[in-house]
Subunit: 420 residues, 2 copies
């Protein structure tokens, strides 16, 4: 009976769900600018009637924690939001965790419409953050709202978290953990194309400084171009990527072209068209396998750069500088046979009418913090299209977002148990 | 008799010449910040007793001129200075042209001392602009001062010019030409290692936009890295450089490893370590042979980029954008047998006691404007070490600067003629 009621509620509220997502997209919540999007989240949680905890994480206090990574010195005006739906007691609790921050929009010319408009077209909502992961967050709020509004009562607590800083290292989730929030399981609805990711790839940001020797461009043969030397570095890093990926045998990575990518995301060098550039700075991210240790990966990367001198003697006296900076996501893993994973598989099958696909995530999430720091079984599963995350013309299918809400509602009822 | 007097004057004033150069170096006259260095020049010209003309070039007025190239919209606070030593009449006039602007210092860590200190060590003055070309400018002022102070009178006018904007396209010299300054010959003491350059390479700045397709770094195989595509572009541009240089047969370029270099001076792309970069911007300069036409070189470069689609089909739908921006120096040439060239060769031999070396310049100068717009025979010859121009730890030999002053004095007396 209840079953039918909450499902009908979801169908009825499809329009307002889309509006909520649009409002969230319209607040351009790139790093440091999360507060207005969080205000929308807070308003939605208030309407549902959840207990709300809002705080600005204390960067100074967290700075000594070994998993604290952020380029920021403070989080003023960047609040975390946690909203609790208290259970009646005796059931298993769950954290529903989503991040509110989005990556920058990139080259605006590649967008067909304003990335912060939230345009609806052909059953999709477009915009930066639609898929990664404001759509997933809306699914979570919808699921809670549907159950609560139709009178469903759960035994276990449901702890909804809207965190900052996921895109640059997880300081928001770390802050929530340090504030004492814990549960028997964590679900993170990052855009997985509705696949279930029991394993999450970790990742780390690195900065490489490639040296050259300046000279007048008209006598460029008197200098050494750091851009030309960077080409050699790029090749070497690609070799390392191949080497690392050839070692991956986990069946969860089957069919993924590059399970553990090394991405060079930024390049900058030189200051004058007529001068030979003497410095190039490269920034990128390296994927860390679910069972790998961050330190081992760091060592392997350093060794690779060290070997550059065998390719080009320039690097003997001018070694590439390696720095680990900014974001870092620890990898996470939960056994494929864990009851929480099985329960999600079941909920998916019930709604989608087909078996769930299990994979390992191609990117880091905040999941690793929950598994590694708190030993909480954590699964990443959500609506949204992996391929358009961080892309121009990012979108989410409204159907998929609604379906995810339905699956989350079933997960909540089955994990936390219905209190009669 | 006079001969001995002016030479003795030069020897006596070696210390104050070094001090003048130091003062000029200490005023960091990078683009847009030339006025305080020009103030030192003006003071020196006043002390010599020259007629001084100071004005801020009118960018708006010049903007329609086909040889006007500048990224600047105005030259407020960036004055040109022209100082005239009027002849008694009947002699040939000469323009002595030097630029006051310097390129930025580059990576400060590669400098052994402050680039704007003007440190003196082992007979050299160090600092940005010492060689390119404040040392040459001091030689000019010394030569004039030595002759004038010791009572030498010349028949022809000597027109000393301290111009802005040479390092970014010659708007300063263009402004001096448009103001009406002309003469029977031009000498530009750019750092030639005391070689004589009757031919000057032209050059142009270009900007290339290399496209990619953004994606999350963790699924980088879904995107197209503009950094990886840039590597292909860099290779192609290097091929063009080889092709162009294989055509050079002018004996003045003998022994020069790359007569007409294409230099990539700047690279910038991507905005986030975890995203696949969708745009890389490259900036550089291409050398233009003394007899080449700018438009022909532009066409050849465009054709080269157009051919990229044969290397990689990506470029078919995403062609590299080419833009000619900022600086542009027209090439210049005067016959090797011209009397003015011969006269400089003679003056050099008289002072250096060895034959002069004639070459073609590896870089653009303002000389091209004088030859192409006004048909004035123009020679580039000066003290200073070509190899350290635009380098860290740039320096000039004090001996060489003083020797150049001596040679310039002889050139003035022989070209403009002594009035008895």
């Amino acid at each position: 009976m209840k079953q039918i009621e909450w499902k009908a509620w979801l169908e009825k509220n499809r329009g307002s769900a889309v509006k909520l997502l649009q409002k969230l997209i319209q607040e351009r919540s790139t790093q440091g600018k999360e507060s207005s999007a969080q205000a929308i989240v807070i308003e939605a949680c208030r309407e549902i009637g959840l207990e709300i905890d809002i705080w600005e994480p204390d960067a100074k206090e967290m700075s000594t924690h070994r998993n604290f990574v952020s380029v920021r010195e403070h989080f003023h005006d960047s609040p975390n939001v946690v909203a609790i739906w208290k259970g009646t007691g005796g059931g298993r609790s769950i954290i529903l965790n989503g991040h509110i921050d989005v990556v920058p929009e990139g080259d605006i010319l590649q967008w067909e419409s304003d990335p912060f408009e939230g345009k609806v077209k052909d059953g999709k909502v477009y915009g930066r953050g639609s898929t990664d992961m404001k759509g997933g967050n809306v699914s979570l709020l919808l699921a809670i709202n549907a159950l609560k509004s139709t009178g469903v009562k759960l035994k276990g607590d449901v702890i909804f978290q809207s965190v900052i800083e996921e895109e640059s290292g997880g300081a928001g989730t770390l802050a929530a953990i340090l504030r004492g929030y814990t549960a028997d399981a964590v679900l993170i609805p990052e855009p997985t194309n509705m696949k279930i990711f029991p394993k999450q790839q970790g990742s780390m940001w690195f900065r490489l400084k490639v040296k050259g020797k300046s000279a007048h461009g008209g006598t460029r043969y008197e200098g050494v171009s750091s851009i030309e030397k960077s080409v050699i570095v790029l090749e070497k890093v690609k070799e390392l990527e191949t080497l690392r990926n050839n070692r991956v045998s986990d069946p969860l990575y089957k069919g993924i072209p590059i399970p553990l990518p090394i991405n060079i995301g930024k390049i900058e060098g030189g200051s004058w068209p007529s001068s030979v550039p003497d410095l190039v700075v490269l920034e990128g991210r390296i994927g860390v396998g679910p069972e790998e240790k961050l330190d081992d990966v760091k060592q392997e990367f350093a060794d690779c750069l060290h070997a550059l001198k065998e390719v080009d003697s320039w690097f003997e006296r001018h070694p590439v500088e390696l720095e680990w900076f900014g974001a870092q996501w620890v990898p996470g893993t939960v056994e494929v046979g864990h009851p929480f994973v099985k329960l999600i598989e079941g909920a998916y099958q019930e709604v989608a009418q087909k078996p769930a696909i299990l994979e390992a995530s191609p990117w880091g999430t905040d999941g690793g913090l929950f598994t590694q720091l708190c030993d909480i079984p954590t699964v990443v599963f959500g609506p949204g299209t992996t391929e358009v995350a961080h892309y121009p013309n990012e979108y989410i299918s409204i159907d998929e977002m609604m379906k995810a809400a339905e699956i989350v509602a079933i997960i909540l009822m089955n994990w936390c148990e219905i209190a009669e």
